[in-house]
């Protein structure tokens, strides 16, 4: 079932924003769908406020890294990540970015102010989940292969439940953050 999926996504942000956590969620979602998956992550010193970059490849791949101009999409937790990592994107790729205004990129970019939304929720550490929730909205608005994330809101919700087993409060707050992004309207 999952075997027809072939998708390469770049996720980036700054150390402490939770890039690795949402990479993990998407990878778990891929496994639940019966897909093969590779991720590649930044650990160590860069996690101290430096730029953090993850690659995730779902489907029949053997290399953990994405080559330039091959990625189907970018999830950017800071607007600056588009300039830093936009070079991974193929023509027509999508971008979901945490930004107060829609950036001018030449790609199919959509923005929400996840910082403001997470502060409003009283959960400033949930910027990553708010943005991921927003990215999952794409399944409705976009048509065609790889024009949206390979998985659905429900897939990520179950992955979240698996990751935060036994931590009910944290799980509830995380699902709320995911929903907030999912329901948020795009910044123009």
């Amino acid at each position: 079932m999952g075997n027809s999926i072939s998708q390469q996504i770049v996720i980036s942000g700054v150390g402490g924003q939770g890039v690795l956590f949402i990479t993990r969620l998407l990878a778990e979602a891929a496994i639940m769908k019966g897909c093969q998956v590779f991720t590649s992550e930044t650990h160590g010193m860069a996690q101290r406020g430096g730029t953090v970059l993850s690659h995730i490849k779902v489907g029949d791949f053997s290399s953990p890294l994405i080559r330039p101009f091959q990625a189907d999409g970018l999830i950017a937790l800071k607007p600056e990540n588009i300039l830093q990592h936009g070079s991974f994107l193929k023509k027509g790729a999508w971008i979901y970015v945490n930004s107060g205004k829609k950036p001018d990129t030449g790609f199919d970019a959509r923005a929400i102010d996840a910082d403001a939304l997470s502060l409003k929720m009283g959960n400033p550490k949930s910027v990553n989940l708010v943005l991921l929730g927003f990215a999952l909205k794409g399944e409705k608005v976009r048509q065609g292969e790889n024009k949206s994330l390979f998985c659905t809101f429900e897939d990520v919700k179950s992955a979240l439940a698996g990751q935060l087993k036994g931590k009910k409060e944290m799980l509830d707050a995380s699902v709320r953050a995911l929903e907030t992004g999912y329901k948020a309207s795009e910044k123009m």
Partner: protein, 602 residues
């Protein structure tokens, strides 16, 4: 057969160790190897497996503990990062001669790039120097499979075996099959044999001779022989790969349509390279391209240099990580395909910095105030980032802050104006390699100040405990080693402890220490405040202090350049500094930093 699970490469290695009955696992944390022991501990606790697992005080100690376990017939493993192997190289060289009884795996994780290391050194060359076999995995799944191969190799030939993953294997995640855990029934049994385990030089020669015989056989061992991955491909040209370069190359050869054309060999065991493989490469192919990280270990063993393209003739870069886009170019060149020259233009990312509220920032601020013109030697850890603050002048290797302080003192001691020398070292690094150096400064009466940045944890690598934590890898209660007592035991006569986040009280302590060092000799300040992120420190966090910036701010940017807290940002519209409430930890130290007193408590 278990189900497939998403595993980090390091987790897959841990799972492999437990599936293959590893009874003792030791490590010292270091990126990219740290999660191997941490994962092993998590899995063994979950399944109540009788495995001794521990963080050791340094890699040499970790190696020797695990090695003695294998002398007693058990399967054991030690894991570390590549520069950690330098520290453990003394026992490594000798253990190669004496060999193993139970299976013994040395896991040394390399970091081509480098992403989080001082060097791009290749542990496979260390294996070659020690004369032990080394396996080079291409993925988390293969790293796990190689554990069983490594133990079998180690026990068949009674030799330590190295597993050499790289960052891209350690820190990739993949769907990996989890299998049944091994049996832990084997009993420890040490058979005394002084001619082997305590060999004098005469017997060492005999052991060395035996080691050479082992290597000859290992170079013909079927299970670790190079594999031709694309059986059907026939050509006068072949590609030889190992490690993660193999994973990249497979994918790219398929994308370029070379899979059915150009033979691709994956080397499983880069040293010793299989004898038959070396000769067949030279007879069957006119030309081979060798892609490996990070040094030409396979390439050097290919006897006919005229046939090989690789690092030695500059065809493959000798520095840095071999990224898949570079492999694509090499393959196109090698196969005579036209390649679009890939030029990527992108902005550089943000440099790492100490976290908002990090106690080290306060310590560095105090050091710069107390000895503004000092020479600042420092060490390996989060606090290396003190270089952003101009408070770190040197970083060499673990423990060197203290010995280098000694060196600078001796270099300047006959000068009329001697600079203050202030060394900084983390608590874990102090235990690891700082103590012998401190003893030396006492013996030589080095006039310097040592600030031990005691944040109660090994922060940089993911908050592993230190000998002063009082708990172990599984959270079990352990003895506490008292840093003050240790410092005094080394013979230091000035040793005071303070909390750097109480900067008003802390600064006078540092000033007093610097004065003492000028007049008398070594002075130590222990800057104690728990790390803000992670760690299991039971010490209570101080109450959050909410701060704001008033109109007294003159936009001098002193706080930004001299304190560099991520939570203090410059607001271009307001033309003054501002506090980012998302990032501020509420430590309150910045209140004492602003020369205009514009940062105030709310």
């Amino acid at each position: 057969m278990g189900r497939k699970k998403l595993m980090l490469g390091n987790e897959a290695i841990a799972q492999g160790l437990l599936e293959n009955s590893c009874a003792i696992a030791t490590s010292y944390p270091g990126t990219p190897a740290s999660e191997i022991l941490a994962s092993l501990v998590r899995i063994k606790e979950k399944h109540s497996l009788p495995v001794h697992s521990q963080w050791a005080v340094n890699e040499k100690v970790a190696f020797e503990i695990a090695y003695a376990g294998c002398m007693a017939g058990l399967r054991t493993a030690v894991s570390m990062k590549q520069v950690g192997l330098n520290v453990a190289s003394d026992p490594l060289m000798s253990a190669a001669y004496m060999g193993a009884k139970g299976g013994f795996i040395v896991i040394s994780a390399d970091d081509p790039g480098p992403h989080s290391s001082q060097t791009e050194q290749d542990s496979r060359l260390m294996a070659m120097m020690a004369k032990i076999p080394v396996l080079d995995p291409d993925s988390p799944a293969q790293a796990k499979d190689m554990i069983s191969i490594a133990y079998e190799l180690s026990e068949t030939f009674e030799i330590p075996v190295m597993l050499r993953p790289t960052t891209r294997v350690c820190h990739s995640r993949q769907d990996v099959q989890a299998n049944k855990f091994g049996s832990f029934e084997r009993k420890a049994d040490f058979k005394k044999d002084p001619a082997r385990w305590a060999a004098t030089p005469k017997f060492r020669f005999k052991l060395h001779t035996e080691l050479e015989k082992k290597l000859e056989k290992i170079a013909a061992h079927k299970k670790t022989a190079p594999v031709k991955l694309n059986k059907k491909a026939v050509s006068g040209k072949a590609v030889i790969v190992s490690g993660v370069a193999a994973a990249h190359t497979r994918e790219i050869m398929k994308a370029l349509g070379l899979w059915d054309k150009t033979p691709l060999f994956q080397v499983i065991q880069p040293y010793p390279l299989h004898t038959n493989f070396i000769s067949s490469i030279c007879t069957d192919y006119d030309e081979v391209l060798v892609i490996e990280e990070s040094m030409p270990v396979i390439e050097m063993q290919i006897a006919d240099r005229t046939r090989a393209r690789g690092k030695l003739n500059g065809f493959v870069s000798r520095v840095g990580e071999i990224l898949p886009e570079a492999i694509e170019q090499m393959l196109c060149d090698f196969a005579g395909l036209k390649a679009d020259k890939i030029t990527v233009q992108s902005q550089p990312g943000r440099r790492p910095t100490l976290c908002a509220g990090c106690p080290h920032r306060a310590s560095f601020f105090a050091i710069k105030k107390a000895a503004p013109k000092g020479i600042y030697t420092s060490d390996i850890g989060c606090y290396t980032l003190g270089l952003n603050l101009g408070a770190v002048d040197t970083v060499l290797c673990m423990g060197a802050a203290i010995s280098q302080a000694g060196g600078f003192y001796h270099a300047f001691k006959n000068e009329s104006k001697r600079p203050d020398i202030v060394a900084t070292i983390g608590d874990s690094t102090f235990f690891h390699a700082g103590i012998p150096a401190l003893i030396d400064t006492v013996v030589q009466n080095v006039h310097f100040t040592l600030v031990i940045l005691d944040n109660r944890t090994t922060a940089m690598t993911g908050n592993q405990p230190t000998p002063a934590s009082g708990f172990g890898a599984s959270g079990e209660t352990l003895e506490i080693v008292d840093i003050e007592a240790l410092v005094k035991g080394c013979g230091v006569k000035f040793c005071k402890t303070g909390d750097p986040c109480k900067i008003k009280e802390f600064l006078p302590i540092v000033k007093e220490a610097v004065q003492y060092a000028r007049d008398k000799g070594p002075a130590v300040v222990i800057a104690r405040h728990p790390c803000l992120i992670g760690g299991k420190s039971k010490e209570k966090r101080t109450k959050k202090i909410f701060v704001e910036i008033t109109d007294a701010c003159e936009a001098c940017e002193y706080c930004i350049s001299h304190f560099e807290c991520p939570a203090i940002v410059f607001d271009i519209d307001k033309k003054r500094a501002d506090i980012d409430p998302l990032l501020c930890s509420g430590c309150g130290v910045c209140v004492h930093v602003c020369p205009k007193k514009a940062i105030v408590i709310k």
